[in-house]
């Protein structure tokens, strides 16, 4: 009879050594009580699919050296952070995922989905995930003028566009709306133009920390050259990696663009004169509401639009249901009927909203794509908050 029991000590030791070289976070997993609260809140477990993903089981296997990185499940995690928010022992599971993905990407210790392999290598060569021409990065600006220096303006900001608003067909709407909004106020702003490269979030989340470092260095030296200390990003993902991983001191102030809109509206610099007589729901991007606790500002913006009726979806604020785009999810193709974005759109439909607004180019892409592919969602318009605010000024 074949003995199929696992050899506990040996494999655990090797896994332990490999992981402790990768990251400190591994040590935190020793505190796991296996209570399962992480798995319950994980949005993936709400999908109607035979694919399985259990953060709790991941940690159990990790600690016993039984982790099998040859499966697809390592890539199901969208890095939304819902697990981290509820874990009684504050285990940074998203960082654990990151460390494991690094093992796969750098040491070939497991399976890497082909689409991510392509995006990682494209980021390395073209500084964006789609092998797009870097010299066409600011093509989205065609037809929009960025006016020369505004006189008497007390402020100068750097607008960091990001890969999606630069190249993605839906994302470009965000970039164009943002610039049009800024043109209406007395703030000097610049972009990095074609010198801008990916913030590195896509590399970081997919386990290519070396690729991330490379992109970070390019961006930080460009920032230094520009010398503008206030940076606003159109994507919460860019904001997250930059504010947490780029700068060691407080020399640069990085914020998501939505906070600038909020500031301009609350101080009455940007006046919303046109009514929008629609029911509006807000999809909180995970990298605003969960990772950075930005929850009230988007709502305050929407509530200041006259004629608009604001409705909340079932999962709102910090409990927002992930669209599925983070953590590399935007590059993976999930089957129709097995997408987190569909669960979210169903909630939007149930809330009676005419417009579903978000504040993240990845969310816009994920929700927009799923909405287009199904008649169920044909009555809902998916918009970015910049577009909506532009319609209201």
């Amino acid at each position: 009879m074949e003995d199929r029991s696992n050899l506990i000590d040996e494999s655990a030791y090797h896994m332990h050594m490999a992981l402790s070289q990768m990251s400190q976070e591994f040590y935190y997993t020793e505190r796991c009580l296996q209570c399962g609260i992480c798995t319950e809140v994980c949005p993936f477990t709400r999908l109607n699919t035979i694919d399985k993903f259990s953060p709790r089981e991941f940690i159990q296997r990790l600690r016993l050296g039984l982790l099998d990185l040859s499966g697809e499940d390592l890539w199901y995690c969208t890095n939304c952070g819902s697990c981290e928010m509820v874990c009684p022992f504050e285990i940074p599971f998203v960082k654990v995922m990151s460390s494991l993905r690094n093992l796969v990407v750098k040491q070939g210790a497991g399976y890497l989905p082909a689409t991510l392999k392509n995006s990682i290598s494209s980021l390395s060569t073209y500084n964006n995930p789609w092998m797009e021409d870097p010299d066409r990065r600011s093509d989205w600006m065609r037809g929009i003028d960025i006016p020369a220096h505004k006189k008497n303006s007390p402020r100068k900001i750097l607008l960091f566009i990001g890969c999606f608003p630069s190249y993605d067909v839906d994302g470009k709407r965000i970039a164009r709306s943002a610039v049009r909004l800024l043109n209406r106020v007395n703030i000097n702003f610049e972009t990095l133009g074609n010198k801008e490269v990916c913030c590195g979030d896509s590399s970081f989340r997919s386990g290519d920390s070396d690729g991330f470092e490379k992109l970070k260095n390019i961006n930080t030296s460009n920032f230094a050259e520009k010398g503008i200390r206030y940076i606003y990003t159109l994507s919460p993902h860019c904001f997250d990696v930059m504010s947490k991983w780029y700068f060691k001191d407080n020399e640069y102030h990085v914020k998501p663009f939505i906070l600038l809109i909020h500031e301009l509206i609350s101080s009455n610099i940007l006046k919303l004169k046109k009514p929008i007589n629609k029911r509006i729901a807000f999809h909180d991007p995970c990298f605003l509401c969960k990772h950075n606790k930005i929850i009230d500002e988007p709502r305050e913006i929407l509530k200041s639009i006259s004629g608009a009726e604001f409705v909340e979806m079932e999962h709102c604020g910090a409990k927002s249901m992930c669209c599925g785009g983070g953590g590399g999810g935007v590059f993976l193709d999930r089957k129709k009927g097995e997408r987190l974005s569909e669960i979210r759109l169903d909630e939007a439909v149930r809330s009676g909203a005419d417009i579903l607004v978000t504040a993240c180019p990845l969310c816009l892409s994920m929700l927009g794509d799923s909405a287009k592919s199904d008649d169920r969602y044909s009555d809902i318009r998916i918009m970015d908050i910049c577009e909506l605010v532009l319609e209201a000024v």
């Binding site: 505190r31 009580l33 296996q34 209570c35 798995t39 319950e40 009684p88």
Partner: protein, 350 residues
């Protein structure tokens, strides 16, 4: 100003038991109790694990022994305002204005339960059908506010489907209580049994992380609970939400099956953990004794001198030193007397 040998702070079962034990040594004591009645929490428990003895009766027996002794005095509805140490004596000023000089002080102030509103995701204080184990205890008490009937607070209808959530406010570093409260698994199992024995048709589901029914007779009680049909699901509940009719929906991962699970219940009881007594900070300051990182008092030596503190003449017993079942509190009450007695003897021989 009166001179007393021993002042006992707290008239719960530990305080009462220590007064009786001191009385056995011929030592007089005065119990200071902040409420209008002695008996602390135990007086409200109609059944105590593992033998399902009546808490009211235990308190009555203790109170009876106390009142029949001329050496034990009780001052009710009073707290301590000020303490001054003079040589080996303690000058204690009470809130009623009177002053007592004591040779020894025994702190038996008990504990607090975790405030379940601090875990907002469970909806306590928001959804009426979500209660704490403390309230469940009252509902199950034939002398309690519902006369022993299990009813849904939302509409007063009978509660047939009950969920008990373990580890609320314990084993949770995030909210500041990483420790295990030790008795919740046991009292929750006891409550589950009570519910089933009250109504055979009821369904009771316990959502647990581990079952720590560790004491003598506790494991057997857990076995009995399962025999009579109490369901145990291993998974920490992430949230409770309400339906329009007041029903509560509970979600967790069934970690033993590796699948998410949800259930609809009439009543959800949060088994709250123990926390240091509300006066712990004040007592610690007044008497100069240390508290652990969990907030409970620290003894001079946990193994050899568990009743003594860093302050000579100040002793601790019962739940103030940590979480323990009532049986252990009574044991503490009995054993601290020996320590106090030998201390007083040394004082007298000086």
């Amino acid at each position: 100003m009166s001179h007393k040998r021993v002042v006992i702070v707290g008239g719960g079962v530990t305080g009462l038991r220590s007064a009786i034990a001191l009385d056995d040594f011929g030592i007089e004591s005065t119990i200071i109790e902040k409420k209008s009645e002695v008996g602390g929490r135990v007086v409200g428990y109609s059944k105590i694990f593992p033998d399902f003895r009546d808490g009211r009766k235990i308190v009555d027996d203790l109170a009876g022994a106390v009142s029949s002794s001329s050496r034990i005095g009780i001052i009710k509805e009073t707290t301590i305002d000020h303490v001054q140490k003079k040589d080996v004596n303690y000058t204690i000023t009470l809130s009623n204005g009177s002053v007592i000089v004591a040779d020894a002080v025994v702190l038996t102030c008990g504990f607090e339960t975790f405030d379940a509103t601090r875990q907002g995701e469970y909806g306590y204080g928001v959804y009426p059908n979500i209660i704490t184990s403390v309230e469940l205890e009252d509902f199950l008490n034939p002398h309690g506010s519902t006369k022993g009937k299990l009813l849904r607070p939302f509409d007063g209808n009978p509660a047939k489907r009950i969920a008990i959530i373990f580890c609320v406010g314990s084993r949770n570093k995030r909210i500041g209580n990483p420790y295990c409260s030790r008795i919740c698994c046991s009292y929750s199992t006891k409550q589950a049994i009570e519910i089933k024995e009250l109504d055979e048709e009821s369904s009771v589901t316990c959502f647990y992380m581990d079952i720590r029914t560790y004491g003598r007779g506790f494991e057997e009680m857990y076995q009995y609970a399962q025999d009579i049909g109490v369901k145990y699901i291993r998974g920490r509940v992430s949230e409770c939400s309400t339906l329009l009719n007041g029903d509560i929906q509970v979600r967790a991962e069934n970690t033993l099956l590796g699948r998410p699970v949800q259930g609809i219940f009439d009543l959800v009881s949060l088994s709250v953990g123990m926390m240091p007594c509300a006066d712990a900070g004040k007592m610690s300051e007044l008497f100069g004794i240390r508290r652990g990182s969990d907030g409970f008092f620290i003894a001079e030596d946990e193994d050899f001198n568990p009743h003594s503190t860093d302050t000579q003449g100040v002793f601790i017993a019962g739940s103030v030193t940590g979480l323990k079942p009532i049986r252990d509190c009574l044991l503490d009450g009995a054993s601290v007397a020996g320590k106090v007695a030998s201390y007083l003897k040394k004082l007298d021989n000086k």
